[in-house]
C-alpha cells in the first residue's frame, strides 16, 4: 500500500505537474473575485475566508475525476480489482495520495492568498486549519464521483455536478468555523469539530461507496 501511495504522489508530481495546476487554478479563482466584487478591502477581508474556501473546493475537484479513469485507461484498474487487498483500502490510499499531492499544496498556498484578501492573522490561521481538516473530505466525496465516472463513456463535468451538492456541509462548517474564530462571541470549536466529524464520516462513506461503484462499473 505504501508502494501505491508513493507511486500516486510521484505521478501527480511528474505527470504534467498536477499539484501545481491545482494551486495555479486556486490562485486564479481567488484573483478573479476582487474584479467581480470590487477592490473594497473591508469587504474582501470579510468575505475572504469564504472565497478561499470556494476556491479550494473548486481546485480540489479539478482533476479528481481522473483519479480512477487514468487507471482504467491503461488497464491498471483491472489488476487492482483482482488483488486480495480490499478495494476499499486501495481507494483510501489513492485518496490520501491525491490529497497529499493536490490538497496539501492548496492548504499551504491559502495563507498567502489570505494576505491578498486583507485577512487578519487570526482569520488566516483559522482558514488554514479548517482547510487542512476539511479538504480531505472533498477528496473522499470526489472519489465517489471519480469511481462513478469510470463507468461513464464521457463526462468529467457531470461528476463535478454530482459531487458539488454533497460538499455543501463541508463548505458550511469550514466557513462558519473561520467566521466564529474572527467574531468573538461565537465559539470556534463546535463548527470545527463538526467539520472534523464530517471529514471522518466521508473517510468511511467515500472509499466504501467508491469501491462499490468501481466493482459494479467494471466492464
Amino acid at each position: 500500500m505504501i508502494a501505491l501511495f508513493v507511486r500516486d504522489v510521484k505521478l501527480a508530481v511528474r505527470g504534467g505537474g498536477g499539484a501545481l495546476i491545482g494551486v495555479l487554478f486556486f490562485m486564479t479563482v481567488v484573483a478573479v473575485i476582487p474584479f467581480g466584487v470590487g477592490p473594497d478591502l473591508n469587504l474582501l477581508s470579510r468575505i475572504g475566508p469564504a472565497i478561499l474556501w470556494i476556491g479550494a473546493l473548486l481546485a480540489s475537484l479539478l482533476g479528481l475525476d481522473r483519479l480512477f479513469q487514468a487507471e482504467r485507461d491503461d488497464g491498471a484498474l483491472d489488476l487492482m480489482l483482482m488483488q486480495e487487498t480490499p478495494l476499499t483500502l486501495i481507494v483510501l490510499v489513492k485518496c490520501l495520495a491525491h490529497w497529499v499531492a493536490t490538497g496539501l499544496p492548496l492548504v499551504l498556498a491559502a495563507p498567502f492568498l489570505g494576505l491578498f484578501m486583507n485577512m487578519e492573522a487570526r482569520a488566516i490561521g483559522a482558514t488554514l486549519l479548517t482547510l487542512l481538516v476539511g479538504t480531505p473530505a472533498i477528496t473522499f466525496i470526489g472519489a465517489v464521483g471519480a469511481a462513478v465516472a469510470v463507468a461513464l463513456p464521457r463526462g468529467g463535468l457531470l461528476v463535478s455536478i454530482l459531487v458539488l451538492p454533497l460538499a455543501i456541509p463541508v463548505l458550511i462548517f469550514g466557513v462558519s468555523a473561520v467566521t466564529a474564530a474572527v467574531e468573538d462571541p461565537a465559539p470556534f470549536l463546535p463548527p470545527f469539530l463538526i467539520l472534523t466529524a464530517i471529514t471522518l464520516f466521508f473517510a468511511v462513506i467515500g472509499p466504501v461507496s467508491a469501491a462499490l461503484a468501481l466493482k459494479h462499473g467494471a466492464d
Binding site: 463507468a151 461513464l152 455536478i161 458550511i172 462548517f173 462558519s176 461503484a213 462499473g217 466492464d219
Partner: protein, 278 residues
C-alpha cells in the same frame, strides 16, 4: 390503501416484468380514476375551507405545496429502496423503478419550490430566502437533476443501474446531513426571521383538505410511477428488439459463409433471464 398493498406485491410477487405489465394494465385505470376522485374531493375541500385570518386566500397554496414537498421526499425514499433492491437482490424491476422515479421526484420538488416561492412573495415579501428548508430542497432538486443526467449519460443499462444505485444511496445518506447542516448554518448566520406556520397550530379546518390532498398526490405519484415503469420496460423491449434485428442481420451474413447461429435456442437456454428485461 391500494398503493400500500401494491408496493408489497411489487417486491415479493413481481419478479418478472411481464407479470408487472399485466398488473399495471389491470390496476392503472382504477388508480387513475381514484386519483381524479381524490383530487376532486381535495380541491373541493381546499376551496370551500375558510381562509386564514392572517394569510387570507394565499393559505390555499399550502394544499398543493405541502403534499408536493412530502412526495418529493418520499420519492427519494422509493428510489433509495429501489437502489438497495438493485444492489442487494439484483431485482430486475428495481432499476426500472429507480429510473422511472427520478423525473417524478424532480417534478414534485420543482412544484414544491415554485408553489413555495409563490407563497413566499405575499407572505415574506420575497420570492426566495436562503432559509434552511428552502436551501436543502433546492439541493434535493439539484441531486434529482444530476441523477437523471447521469442515467441518461450511460449507454449500458445494467451497468448504469448498479452504478447509479450506488450514487442514489450516497445521496440518501447525504440528504439528512445536508438538511441538518443547512439548518445549523442558517441559525449561525441569521436569527430566525422567517415566519412560518407551526405544525401543531394547524387547525382541523386546514387539516382535512391537506390530508385529502396528500392522499391525492400519493395516488398521483403511484399512478405516474407505474406508468413510467411500464414505459421504461417497453422502451427496453424496443431496444432489445432492435439489437436482435441487428444480430439476425449479422447471422444471415454469417449463414452465407456457412455457419448457422441458432438464435432461438439461446433465448430458451438463458437460465433465469435475470438482470435484463427482454
Amino acid at each position: 390503501m391500494s398503493d400500500n398493498s401494491l408496493s408489497i406485491r411489487k417486491v415479493s410477487d413481481l419478479a418478472n416484468p411481464t407479470r408487472f405489465l399485466a398488473l399495471a394494465k389491470a390496476v392503472l385505470p382504477w388508480m387513475a380514476g381514484l386519483t381524479v376522485l381524490a383530487f376532486a374531493i381535495g380541491l373541493y375541500f381546499s376551496f370551500s375551507s375558510a381562509g386564514d385570518y392572517q394569510q387570507g386566500e394565499t393559505v390555499r397554496i399550502m394544499y398543493v405545496h405541502v403534499p408536493a414537498a412530502w412526495l418529493a421526499m418520499m420519492c427519494y425514499c422509493v428510489m433509495a429502496a429501489s437502489a438497495l433492491g438493485t444492489l442487494v437482490w439484483r431485482h430486475p424491476l428495481a432499476d426500472v423503478s429507480a429510473k422511472a422515479a427520478a423525473p417524478l421526484g424532480a417534478a414534485f420538488t420543482f412544484l414544491a419550490l415554485v408553489t413555495g416561492s409563490l407563497w413566499g412573495k405575499p407572505m415574506w415579501g420575497t420570492w426566495w430566502v436562503w432559509d434552511a428548508r428552502l436551501t436543502s430542497f433546492f439541493v434535493l432538486f439539484l441531486m434529482y437533476l444530476g441523477l437523471i443526467a447521469f442515467s441518461r449519460a450511460m449507454d449500458d443499462p445494467s451497468r448504469a443501474a448498479r452504478v447509479s444505485a450506488v450514487l442514489i444511496l450516497v445521496g440518501f445518506v447525504n440528504i439528512p446531513i445536508i438538511k441538518f447542516s443547512v439548518e445549523w448554518w442558517n441559525t449561525l448566520h441569521q436569527p430566525a426571521s422567517v415566519i412560518r406556520m407551526g405544525g401543531s397550530a394547524i387547525d382541523g379546518e386546514f387539516l382535512t383538505p391537506l390530508l385529502v390532498m396528500a392522499a391525492a398526490f400519493s395516488l398521483l405519484f403511484f399512478t405516474l410511477h407505474i406508468m413510467a415503469m411500464r414505459n421504461e420496460i417497453w422502451r427496453r423491449r424496443v431496444s432489445a428488439m432492435r439489437r436482435k434485428a441487428a444480430r439476425s442481420a449479422a447471422s444471415v451474413y454469417q449463414g452465407k459463409l456457412g455457419t448457422v447461429f441458432p438464435e432461438k435456442t439461446n433465448e430458451t437456454k438463458d437460465p433465469k433471464g435475470a438482470g435484463s428485461i427482454v
